[in-house]
Amino acid sequence: MPLVKGGEITRDDFAHVREDLPLPEDGAVLISAARFLADPELLLRHKGRIGVIWPNGRDIDALVPYLDRLATIALVFPTFRDGRAYSQARLLRERFHYHGELRATGQVLRDQFVFMLRAGFDAFDVRKQSDAEAFAQTVKRYSVFYQPTGDGRLTALHRRMQLRDSRRAGL
């Protein structure tokens, strides 16, 4: 599955470590929430970056104490119809000020990219190669947005106010 980051297809540095296998000595690893929560302090001493796959049915509160020490959080879309991870993403970014990588995993398809970017995702485990290749093109689909989210894009309301202010200034 291609990983898109920074708008481009990139190599995934993180090794997805199976539940029943020991962690490698070093290097970036991605582990399950259950494994992480069993002994977070021990795991955070791992030599190398560490990331957690967080299921969409679990409150993110339990992850909050460790946010500044995580290199990535992978949120899950079991199917593209299940949108719980959008809320988790916004909470992580906007309420808990998580600044690390936020990765969308599962059934990640082209037509969700804009929603995901707006919710705060910045890395995408894309299901289809053709969708990954179309990433840069797809995210340009929209140039106006109605809702304020943490992604910093200017919303319609603010644009209108700016337009009005510039009109006033011109008078």
Binding site: G83, S87, R160
Partner: protein
């Protein structure tokens, strides 16, 4: 009318391009039907029994004449020459070809119409009072807030994949024409003691398999907090609403399972953490939206002009006027409801010719504005009372002056098994038969206000639970059967109807309804006691006895 600005236009056009690309990928096989399904639904495209069905939004039920002409154009060019107005201020076209859909959307986009929010597990078309802005004693025009909500919910990045569909309705009148109590979120606009605008917020109403009347979650949410409060509700729902069973996925089930107190506490906790954030509306933002609604320059006119006095001699005119013409907030003007329920016709249908002609009539008599109500009728919101006789003649010529508004043949019905792939039974032929049975205007008038609602399956698109008489089609061993309820209502005193007996066959439905009506005429305390009030006073039993005694 709300005037789109460049930003609104850009978004709608970008949406058309996106959908064009999605259709192209589906037709080339790049997208599977499963993947495409959600995408097309988010643009109002269903796959029905015979063809794709295309549902177009008419936000808060307000249409300009040029928009109505464009709907006529779509009906004529891409469909079979007619459209069907729904109970949620949408219009449906039943015979659209997938390959032509992007063109139809592009044509609509030119007049600021779109199909976003008409389907899918996201926020649906925000509905409001079809008399908004013109009803006497209205607190203020609720469409300003409906438009704010429309913008806020359109392509929402967090809430476009909710557990299930999500419907808002908003009213600013004490008499609720919007059915806020059967919506996921119902909003009643009111003013606090300081004279500031806010909302009583109701949550968890809905019909379908498990009907609930909405409950008040907060008696007053200040206008500036409306969006943050709504976002808190939707965030709690998005995370905790059930996704394991489509029939238990609506917010009403979450509210029911948690209990309103617990649900309200969850929402409150969420809300308090975000109410001071970016969603807080300042007065300037609200005024900016308000400024883009325009209102007619009304003239100073007499309430009882000579034209109207003269026309009162004509019994046919009077019959129409009495049930189609309603008071307006401006002296000398009236609101006129146009029945889309002719005897023998499918409720809510209008032909392309009717739409075009009505657009001209609206230009001439209603400042170019048309409204769509949840009862599947249309309205002209700004008619000078002196023009009523001429208007009546013009409407009569195009079949839009049936004098049955709010009477027994003014029936709400879903498309049923004639079109819908979910239906178990036909709805339209039942409605058609009932409109024939009660075609006699004097009889209908004698019966008085009586709403019949018909659904062809448990999904309840015809709102049968809240019909004064509700008819629900079910299937038993491959045969159509119909359950009859009475005593439901969708207004400010919303209630669910009660079953009056075993389901009956297709051929018997109209007879049973006639028997119910006869029972009412015998049981009512006075000629002006409405059917719904007689049922309330006496309960279901006396009706049951009379209707089923001989069956």
């Amino acid at each position: 009318m709300y005037a789109y600005d460049e930003i609104d236009r850009t978004l709608v056009n970008e949406r058309v391009l996106e959908f064009r690309d999605q259709v192209r990928r589906r037709l080339s096989g790049e997208l599977t039907e499963d993947e495409f399904k959600m995408l097309r639904l988010q643009n109002g495209v269903y796959l029905q029994l015979h063809a794709y069905m295309f549902r177009v939004a008419i936000p808060y039920g307000t249409l300009a004449s040029r928009q109505l002409r464009r709907l006529a154009h779509v009906a004529r060019t891409y469909d079979r020459g007619y459209g069907h107005f729904t109970t949620r201020q949408n219009i449906q076209f039943n015979w659209i070809k997938l390959a032509e859909l992007p063109d139809a959307l592009a044509d609509l986009a030119e007049v600021g119409i779109h199909a976003m929010q008409t389907s899918g597990n996201n926020t649906r078309n925000v509905t409001s009072d079809q008399w908004a802005g013109v009803a006497p004693a209205e607190v203020e025009d609720p469409r300003i807030w409906a438009e704010i909500l429309r913008q806020y919910t359109t392509l929402h990045p967090e809430f476009s994949f909710l557990p299930r569909k999500f419907k808002f309705a908003i009213t600013a009148s004490s008499h609720d024409r919007t059915a806020i109590r059967i919506h996921d979120i119902g909003l009643r606009l009111l003013r606090n003691q300081q004279g500031e605008t806010g909302f009583e917020v109701l949550v968890g109403g809905g019909l379908g398999r498990t009907p609930f009347i909405g409950k008040t979650i907060k008696p007053f949410v200040h206008g500036r907090d409306l969006l943050s409060y709504v976002e808190a509700i939707m965030r709690v729902y998005n995370q905790y609403g059930r996704r394991d069973n489509i029939y238990k996925a609506r917010i009403k089930i979450l509210v029911h399972e948690l209990g309103i107190e617990k649900f309200a506490a969850e929402v409150e906790e969420e809300w308090l953490q975000m109410r001071e954030g970016a969603l807080k509306l300042d007065d300037e933002v609200v005024e900016d939206i308000r400024a883009r609604f325009s209102y007619p320059n009304y003239e100073e006119l007499p309430e009882m002009p000579d034209e109207l006095r003269d026309a009162a001699q004509d019994a046919s005119f009077e019959a129409w006027r009495r049930n189609s013409v309603f008071p307006h907030k401006v002296r000398g003007y009236a609101i006129v409801t146009l029945s889309l329920k002719p005897a023998g016709g499918p409720p809510g249908d209008a032909t392309a010719e009717q739409m075009d002609a009505l657009a001209d009539i609206a230009d001439k008599y209603s400042f170019g504005e048309i409204r769509v109500g949840h009862e599947q009728n249309l309205a002209l919101p700004h008619v000078a009372r002196r023009d009523l006789p001429a208007l009546w003649k013009a409407l009569d010529r195009i079949g839009l002056a049936t004098p049955n508004v709010n009477l027994i043949s003014d029936i709400i019905a879903c498309p049923g098994l004639d079109y819908c792939s979910l239906a178990n039974a036909r709805s339209i032929p039942i409605a058609q038969e009932l409109t024939r049975r009660f075609a006699n205007h004097d009889t209908a008038n004698l019966i008085g206000r009586l709403h019949i609602n018909i659904s062809g399956c448990i999904n309840a698109c015809g709102h049968h639970h809240v019909g004064h008489i509700g008819i629900l089609g079910v299937e038993k061993n491959g045969e159509e059967f119909y359950q009859i309820t009475i005593g439901g209502r969708a207004d400010e005193n919303a209630e669910l109807g009660t079953l009056i007996g075993p389901a009956v066959k297709f051929e018997e439905v109209a007879d049973v309804v006639e028997d119910v009506v006869e029972a009412y005429l015998a049981l009512r305390a006075r000629p002006d006691e409405l059917f719904i009030d007689t049922v309330k006073r006496l309960g279901v039993e006396p009706f049951k006895e009379r209707v089923y005694a001989t069956r």
